[in-house]
Each structure stands twice: as C-alpha cells, then as structure tokens.
C-alpha cells in the first residue's frame, strides 16, 4: 500500500460526530476520579512516577550508608540500623525501582509505538500498578518502625530463617516481594500479548521496533525467571511460619537450595533490567544520529541470545560456595561468552554514530554516559567471570563497584536519556537543555568518584555489607572519596527533580516530533492514542511514510472512530500483523484499585498477624475481582465491525484466537515453572540423601496417587464435556461434578500421604513432598472458586457461543491442574526410583 490517497484504508470526509464519539469513549476522568483510569497513558505515568519515587527513597538510603562509611569506626548508624538500611537500599532499588521503571516505560510507550490504542488488559495493568504502589509504600514504611528486613537484598538462609531472624522483618520482605511478583508477571503477560497481537496492521515482526523486540524478550524472560523466586519465597515463608525445614541442614535441608532458586531468578533479572534500556538506546541513537540503526537484525538476534543465555549463568553468583570447580568452569566460560552479544550491540551503536551525525543534546549526554559506564562495568564483569579472580573479589566492594557500573550505567543512564527524550510526549514541554548539562556533569562525575574507588577498596580487602571498618587497613581515603562522590551524584538527581517539577508546571503545548524520530509514538495522540490506527510499510515509518502523521490525524487509516461506542483497538496476527478482529477493551473502573488495596491489605495484615482484618481485606479483594470480571466476557453488541472502507472484521474472538486465551496460557507457563521449581527443590533435597525416602518418612501407597490421577482425568473429561454444552442446562452440573472429582482427587492424594505419616516438619524431603501436595491443594481451592464463578455465569445466561472466554480459560486452567496433580504424584514416586 502506498501513500496514494485513494488507496488509504479509510476515505475522507469522515462522518460528523465520529471523532467526538471516539473522544467520549476514551475521555480521562478529571479530579480524584482520575484514580479510576485504566488507560495505559495514565497508568504508565503514575507507574513511572511511583518507581522514580522509590529511586529517590532508596537513593537516600544509599546516602545514609555512605555517611556511615565516610570515616572508620563511625557511629552515625548503629549496626542493626545500618543492616536494615543496606538491605532496603538493595531491595527497594532492585524490586521497587529497577524492574518497575522499565515495565512502566513500556506500559506508557509501547502501545503508541506499536500503533495500538492501549494495552490488551487495561484493568489488569491498573491492578498491577496499584498493588505495587500500595504494597511497595507500605513495605518501605517498615523502616520507620524498625521492622525493615535486614538479611541483605538476597536474604540467604539460615540467617533469614526463624532461628536467626525471629522478628517480622524477614516476613515483610517475603510478602512484600510478593507484590512485585504479581505486578511483574501481569506486566509480562500484557507485554507479550500486546506485542504479538495488537501491533498496527503491516507492522510485521521484522519491521517491529527494536525496543518492542527487547520488551517481548523481557516478557518471556520474566515468565521463566520470576517463578523461581516465587517458589523460593514461598518455601522460606513456609519454613519460617510452619517450620518446614527446607534450608535447615540439621533436618536434611540445604541453604544452597535457596541460592539456586534465588539466582536462577536473580541473574536473568539483571538482564530483564538491562534489555529494555538497550532497546531504548537502539531507539534513541538512530534518531539523534539521523540514520537508521546499523545491524538492526544482528541486534535483535543479540537480544534473543542474551535473553536465552542469561538463564545458564546463575551459578556465577555462587562461585565460592564450594560447588565443584569443573561445573563452575562451564559457568565461567558461559559468563564470558555472554559478552559477545553485548559487544554486537555496542559496536552496532557506535557504527550508527559513525554513520550519522550525533547532536550533543541532553539525551546524547546520557547516552555517552551510558557507553562509558556500562562498557566499564561489562569489562569488570568479564574479570569476575574468571574463577580465581572472583574467589578473591566476590562479596567485596569490587563487586559493589561492578554491579553499580552495570546497573547505573546500563539502566539508569539510558532511563535518564529516555526521560529527556520522551518527556515531550506528555504535554509538549521539554526539560531544560542547559540544566541538563549540569545534571549530567554532576551525575556522571559524582557516580565515577563514588564507585570507581570501590574497585580498589575491594581489592584492598573490604568486604560487602559491613557497617564499619578498622582505621588501619588503608580504606579511609577511598571511602571518603566514595561518600563525596555519592553526594555529588545526588545533587545531580536533585537538580533533575527540580527541573522536572518546573517543566510540568508549564502549560502544555503541541508535541510535534522534536527529535525527528521515525517511530510511531511520535504520531499525534490523545487519550485515544492515534485518531486512526496506522497502516505500516517500513521499520522507520515516520521517515519513510512522511505523510503518515497527517493521514492518521485525518482519520484515513484503520478504525478512525469507535464501532461499539466503547474503547477498541485492532487485534492482528503475530507474525505478519494482518488484521484479525476488533478487540473491545474495558473502560475506567474502580475495581482494580479496590481489589489491589484488598490484596495488599490481606498480605500485609497477615504478616503482622492481624488475622481478622486481613481476611476482611481478602474478601474485599475477591469481591473486587469478581465484580471486575463479571462485566467482562459478554457477547459484543455487533458481530461485525467496519474498520476501513474495504475491511470488515469480526468483533471479538473465541477460543485460541482470543487474547485472553493466550494470557491464560502464559499464566499457566508461569504456573508450571513455579511447579517445576518446587520439583527442583524436591530433587535437590533428595539428591543429598543417602537413603531416599529418609528414615522416618515413607512413600504413600501407590493406590492413592493412582486413584487421585484417575479422578483428575475424570474431572478434566467432565470439563471437556462441559465445553461442548455451551448454552445448555447441563453445563453447570457438569462443572459441579468436575469440582467434586477434583476435590476427591485431592482427598485421595492427601489421604495417601496422611496414611504414610507425612510430617513436613520432620525433614526437608517430607517438607518438599508436602509442598507439592499443598501447591496442588492451592490450585484445587482456586479451581473450585473459578468453577463456582463459571456456574454462576452459566446460570445467569452469560456463557454463550460468543462469550465463551470464561469457559475456555477455565478449561485450560482445569486441564493444567489435572496435569500438575499427576506430575506431582509422578515426581514424588519416580525420584527415588531414578536415583537408585
């Protein structure tokens, strides 16, 4: 399709009232009702703002640490206060700032960049944001009552077990992190479904912006990495609350198990933080240089390679744990190898700079800062990949230096560049170019003064996480320099904040395309995104389709209005981006906020053992979620929608074409990975036994797991039948029968273990068996609730051929639960047999 006017999707003139209808459907509520908005633009801005707030808060904690360490034997902070402060500095930075800010920028930017009007699950992203904001702020406040966790941001047991951390501090960490996990996984689902199914027509995968590729890979990484820490935190909380000894060596547990689970998440996590920044750099450099990205395809391949290989490297955080030099040598080689895809990106960026002409603007300064700091950090990363060198510098200030160089260089500086680059999108105002030079100078100079000396301090013997140090070890001047540098860095950040506040106070103006960028987020956009959804023919659309902006605003592309009167976008095929159906999106609602508040309240109040208040919040959350879901999955008002002169699309989709089906599938992959992590824990614990099951424990008699599996299969069969009974009276009864089968299946599994005398507190093997059983039980409870909900919908007549998502997704979850139950029984049975 070319720019010839008579070949554009929609012809002029557009009908009167079409634009007004579109505006009305998408209008952002004013005043305090703004908090009920679910539009990705508004949620995105709230999300970015909240994560930057956590950056400032955690930064202050860092300054407190530096004040304590400025001189030896300092008494500014007591040991126990310092230990809470350093733990919170790391935890808040990693969980409440680093991951959220990169997800938040994607929430804000991606739909526009892909030509979509919003993310595919707006209320889910609202829920994820509010859960994170409320949970995160409450978690931060534990500092003010002396209940902040103090086990370090990676919380190694046995130090963080009940015996050595008897207070609530560690429990706040375990439950607080739960919120981030919910948010991050919800975000990952949105990203994957949004990137694959809601791109503008014609934006094939090959033409998709590199930033979108980066976020797609990050979404998949989150799906496979986060479950490990969800499983780990669950195990540690079970140990603390119920004495199930997963990490207690005396009873067959192993502290190293935690390290495996944590770092299997922890290493991909740092690439989850870096890759979005790399995607942003790949967007900004070509724009500023005025030339397309050199080696675009190679960069995409490199991003995939980094994402994939990052899962093999976790043990390089455990080089000194005594795991065996042979195995660690493989990890060492792999850790060096991951420098190659990173090098591809770095040289591609430099080549782009060479080919073009970089303007020395504010974003450029921070991009240069990124190059300097991140490349230095990457090189020290190769250094610590060398085993003997790591044996000396692991857990010293050398590592503190390395991690800050790669995180601040690799993520923070690109994020600041991105803020200077994309803030004009908000209301047309730009931050000050002249202040930016000061901000950059203070941040860059302060950062290097603070953190470069730490390489030396570590080599001179200073370990991490020490609240003070002796005066005769040669560390005094180095620490003082680091403290001075930290405050200079902070001054730069403060200057930025002042400039940002100044800038947002100004009246808005036209956004335009101040950088002459090529990507779609610079098309004119309002609450509804673009007036019409662009048809794309190139990977630098604004450069190669120069009339695009004017055509889109005039309504000459797809969907220039709203067909159903509600919010809509176009769902397209994953690879070729061919239009498939009209995706109707939910509007603003208070339910996500209410449900998020209830969820946060439930977990936090449980931690402080205010049980009744906790359950009230839990009920509020469940009511909120049901109220929210009840409005969804209804037959659309029309079956066909005209989205362009020559294009009519079905409204909504059923079965595996539906976006919610894919979201459910992704969620089940997360679920399966959590389950796999529990199975890993069971295998790890079993492998340390010489006799399996250990003395005092026994396997259940085969009868019970076999019965249980049979009942699970029967239940799934009933659900499969129910799917064929849409609209008939039998459906709810089939579901009830399926639920009974499921409950009976669980009862059999439970009974078998009960008869075998399973005691989870006796030893770690029993505890892991009990965990597998309990995880299945949790699913049974969930499926009974979902099954009951489905019956209620069926009885109210909401389950029809064209509103089958609830039924289809319930069936998916049901079959998963059956498979999981069978797999759990098989795992417990087969592990000792295989080991023998």
């Amino acid at each position: 399709m070319t720019d010839c006017p008579n070949l554009l999707p929609s012809s002029l003139p557009r009908p009167p009232g079409e634009l007004e209808q579109l505006e009305a459907a998408w209008k952002t509520p004013t005043g305090w009702r703004f908090l009920s908005s679910v539009n990705n633009t508004n949620i995105g801005l709230l999300y970015i703002g909240t994560s930057l707030l956590f950056f400032l808060l955690a930064g202050v904690l860092g300054l407190l640490m530096r004040m304590q360490l400025a001189v030896p034997e300092n008494t500014f902070l007591s040991a126990s206060t310092y230990n809470q402060v350093f733990t919170m500095h790391g935890t808040v930075m990693m969980f409440l700032f680093a991951i959220p800010v990169v997800e938040a920028i994607a929430v804000y930017l991606l739909p526009n960049m892909l030509g979509a009007r919003d993310l595919p699950f707006p209320r889910l992203s609202a829920y994820a944001f509010w859960a994170y904001a409320i949970g995160g702020l409450a978690f931060f406040c534990t500092l003010f009552v002396g209940l902040a966790p103090d086990g370090g941001w990676f919380m190694y047991p046995p130090l963080t077990g009940k015996a050595y951390s008897p207070g609530l501090n560690a429990d706040f960490w375990l439950l607080g992190i739960g919120f981030i996990e919910i948010s991050a996984i919800a975000g990952a689902i949105e990203l994957i479904v949004g990137i694959l199914f809601t791109r503008a027509p014609g934006m094939t995968l090959a033409k998709m912006p590199v930033y979108a590729w980066a976020m797609l890979i990050v979404g998949v990484m989150i799906v496979f990495a986060f479950p490990a820490i969800i499983a780990g935190t669950a195990l540690l909380e079970l140990e603390r609350a119920y004495d199930w000894p997963f990490f207690i060596a005396d009873r067959g547990g192993d502290p190293i198990l935690w390290q495996h689970l944590f770092w299997f998440f922890g290493h991909p996590e740092v690439y989850i933080i870096f890759l979005p920044a790399a995607g942003m750099v790949s967007t900004m450099i070509p724009t500023i240089a005025g030339t397309p990205l050199v080696g675009r395809r190679a960069i995409i391949v490199a991003l995939v390679a980094v994402g994939f290989f990052s899962f093999a490297l976790w043990a390089h955080h455990m080089f000194t744990a005594g795991l065996g030099v042979m195995k660690m040598s493989f990890v060492s080689a792999a850790s060096m190898a991951v420098a190659v895809p990173t090098a591809i990106q770095v040289f591609a960026w430099i080549a782009t700079m060479w080919r073009g002409k970089m303007q020395a603007t504010a974003p450029t300064l921070f991009l240069l800062g990124f190059m300097f700091i991140f490349v230095l950090g990457g090189l020290t990363g190769v250094m610590v990949a060398v085993l003997p060198f790591d044996w000396q510098v692991h857990d010293t200030y050398f590592i503190v230096a390395h991690l800050h160089y790669v995180l601040i260089g690799g993520m923070l500086f690109p994020v600041f560049a991105a803020l200077y680059y994309w803030i004009p999108l908000i209301d047309g105002n730009r931050l000050s170019e002249s202040w930016a030079r000061w901000v950059f100078g203070l941040m860059f100079g302060g950062f290097n003064l603070a953190f470069f000396p730490m390489h030396i301090t570590g080599l001179l013997g200073m370990p991490r996480r020490v609240y003070t140090y002796a005066p005769d070890l040669g560390w005094n001047l180095l620490n003082m320099l680091s403290t001075v540098g930290a405050f200079i860095f902070a001054a730069g950040v403060l200057l930025f904040v002042v400039d940002a506040v100044r800038t947002f106070r100004k009246a808005g103006k036209a956004v335009g395309n101040p950088w002459n960028a090529s990507t779609l987020e610079w098309l004119p956009s309002e609450d509804y995104g673009n007036r019409s959804i662009a048809h794309i023919t190139s990977d630098d659309p604004l450069w190669e389709q120069p009339a695009l902006a004017q055509q889109v605003v005039a309504g000459q592309h797809y969907l220039p209005g709203t067909v159903t009167g509600r919010r809509e976008t176009i769902a397209t095929s994953p690879v070729a981006a061919l239009p498939r159906y009209l995706l109707v999106l939910p509007g603003d609602s208070w339910w996500p906020l209410i449900a998020a508040a209830g969820t946060a309240g439930f977990f936090l109040l449980l931690t402080v053992k205010a049980t009744i208040a906790a359950w009230i919040c839990g009920v509020v959350a469940i009511v909120g979620i049901i109220a929210w879901l009840w409005q969804s999955d209804r037959p659309p008002p029309t079956t066909q929608a005209q989205v362009a002169d020559q294009l009519t699309l079905p409204v909504g989709a059923v079965g595996s074409a539906s976006h919610s089906w894919w979201a459910t599938m992704i969620m089940l992959v997360v679920d399966a990975t959590i389950f796999a992590s529990f199975v890993f824990a069971h295998i790890h614990v079993s492998m340390r036994l010489t006799v399996c099951p250990p003395p005092g424990a026994a396997q259940a008699m085969p009868l019970w797991p076999l019965l249980s599996s049979g009942l699970l299969v029967a239940g799934s069969a009933l659900v499969a039948l129910a799917r064929r009974a849409v609209g008939r009276a039998a459906l709810p009864w089939l579901m009830i029968a399926a639920m009974l089968c499921l409950l009976a299946a669980f009862g059999c599994g439970f009974n078998g273990q009960r008869l075998a005398g399973l005691d989870p507190t006796a030893n770690a093997w029993s505890a892991t068996v009990a965990t597998l059983l309990a995880y299945q039980g949790l699913h049974v409870v969930g499926m009974v609730m979902i099954g009951t909900y489905l019956c209620a919908r069926a009885w109210c007549g909401h389950v029809t051929e064209r509103s089958g998502a609830t039924l289809d997704n319930t069936a998916l979850m049901w079959h998963y639960t059956s498979l999981q139950g069978i797999a759990a029984a098989a795992a417990v049975y087969l592990v000792p047999w295989v080991m023998a």
Partner: protein, 318 residues
C-alpha cells in the same frame, strides 16, 4: 604506610600471587579495550558522517574480536588456574602431607582446631590460625549457624562456610608475617567485626608455638593472678569458655572461644581489640558496648579488683 595486611594486590603466598597476577593482567587488558572502545565512541561524536560497512562492525568488532580475546583469556586463565593449589581434601593428600586445620565459623568468631600429630585431643583455639611458612595448610571449613566465608586475601581467595556442608581452602604463605582476614559473607549484626589473623612462622618457631599450645594453662604462683583464676571459676565463665587446666577440658563443644592461650593471641573479639588487660577488662565488663548483639553477657556484679585480676590472669595465658 606499611604494606596493607588484607590486600589482594599484596600477596604473601603462591596462590595469592597467581591471582594477583590475574588481577593485573585483567586490569591491563580491560583498560586497553576500554580505551579502544571509548576512542571509537569519541570519533562517533565527530562532525562528519561516514560510510560504514556493517559487517565489519557487527562480525568483525562485535563477534570476532570478543571471541578472539575471550578465547585467549579462557585458555590462559584455565592454564594458570591449574597451577593453584587444588582446593579439595582429596588432592591435599599428596606426599607433602599438608597440615590440616579445622575452622568452624560461628556468629561472630572463628573456632580453630589443630589435629595433634601425637594423637592427643584436638588443640582448640580461636580467631588466629598459625601456619608454618612454606607449607600448604589445608583448612577444612564448616559453619555452626549461618553461612560465613573465610577470606585471607594475602594468601588465597575465599571459601564459604555453609551449614550442612564441609568446604576447604588451602593457605600457603611463603614469607613470615601476620595476615588479616575477614568474614566475607553477611552473617548478621556483627558481620563487620568478624576478622581473623593468619600467623605464618618459620618452621622452628611454629613447632615451638605448637608445643606451647598443647600445654594446659599453668597454675599461677602470683596471688593476684590466682585471684583472677578464681574469678573465672566464680563467674562460671566455663559455661561458655574452655580453659584446659581450669575447667571444661572435657571435649564438649562450648558456645564461646577456647581461652587456654588467649593471652598469646594478638587480638580478642575476632580481631576487634588488641589483647591486653585493659581491653580484656572492658570486654568482660560489657561486650555489647564494643560489639552490640554479641552472645556473651556482660559481667554481673564483679567488683573492679576482681575484674582487673581476671583480665591480668587471662593476659598471662600465653
């Protein structure tokens, strides 16, 4: 300034020397590559545009260059690492029969046990490891409570002490001296004050020291010292501390360090204070003012005279 005691870059043994060389080679190579890349970046900020050959950048610089450098690095580092003393008990059983010392890491001190070659009970000490110069000493490590990490940078890399596992580390000094180490895995409130010292002595001095260690604490003749010894008994210090020749020489492990030869150790409280009667008295009176959170209770109802006597007697236990 004297040579730093706890520095990776000031090795005092062959293993640390190899790793120190690693440090310099890696630093030099890294600095060179960094300078090269930054020069390319600087050139990219120039005023002119240039035609670029993408393949040269992507495949040449992005793939071939790092693969070549990393291959060389991997090969060289693997070869050089092979020259380190192997870190396992099995490989330690060479004909040279290195000494074996057991270290049990606790919150927040190090229990050190030497095997008696004459077959007697282990000689138990704390926070100071003596080794003869020029011989590899295998240190078997475990932890009594949480994860710790034994690290003496002048002699070798670190090794974690993990509850439920036994790990090991070789210490080999080739010049006499005192080398400071520190716990390198966060282990709670006083992780920062869990240091230790390795004393490398010429063989004859080591043998003499070891012979003294095998002796129990001698009964003093001086009345003041006797008063101190009695205070140790009266205060029931032996509930936590063994002093062979006084109380607790019954091979039962106790929560606190063995004090049989505490006066001969340069530091107390895991490297926190130099040993003399003043610091000993202050520590006994109130350990929490020096190391808050420590497991030792403050002395209850001790008069000043008894406290000074006790401290003086302990100082005399060399």
């Amino acid at each position: 300034m004297t040579v730093p005691l706890q520095s990776v870059l000031h090795p005092a043994g062959p293993d640390a020397a190899i790793i120190s060389q690693f440090a310099w080679v890696l630093f030099g190579g890294g600095a060179l590559i960094f300078a090269l890349v930054m020069t390319l970046v600087a050139l990219g900020m120039g005023k002119q545009t240039r035609a670029v050959r993408p393949m040269r950048w992507i495949v040449g610089a992005g793939v071939a260059f790092p693969v070549a450098v990393l291959s060389v690095l991997l090969a060289w580092s693997t070869w050089r690492s092979g020259q380190l003393t192997a870190q396992s008990a099995q490989s330690a059983q060479s004909s040279q029969l290195p000494l074996v010392v057991s270290v049990s890491a606790k919150m927040w001190w190090w229990e050190v046990r030497y095997r008696d070659p004459a077959g007697g009970p282990d000689i138990v000490s704390a926070n100071e490891i003596h080794i003869p110069v020029g011989r590899a000493v295998y240190v078997g490590l475990n932890s009594a409570d949480v994860i710790h990490s034994l690290w003496v940078p002048a002699l070798n890399g670190k090794m974690d002490a993990v509850p439920g596992r036994v790990t090991g580390l070789t210490l080999h000094a080739d010049k006499a001296g005192i080398y400071r180490g520190q716990c390198a895995e966060y282990c709670g409130e006083q992780h920062a004050r869990m240091a230790l010292h390795v004393v490398a002595q010429p063989s004859h001095e080591y043998e003499a020291w070891f012979a003294r260690q095998r002796q129990p604490a001698a009964l003093p003749t001086d009345a003041f010292l006797l008063r101190g010894r009695q205070a140790f008994i009266d205060q029931r210090c032996s509930a936590c501390h063994t002093i062979r020749g006084v109380a607790g020489a019954d091979d039962q492990s106790r929560p606190g360090p063995d004090l049989t030869h505490v006066g001969g150790r340069a530091h107390i409280a895991a490297g926190t204070l130099r040993t003399h009667r003043g610091t000993l008295a202050g520590w006994i009176a109130d350990p929490h003012s020096i190391k808050p959170g420590v497991r030792m209770p403050a002395a209850a109802g001790m008069d000043g005279e008894a406290l000074r006597a006790l401290a003086t007697w302990l100082e005399s236990l060399e």
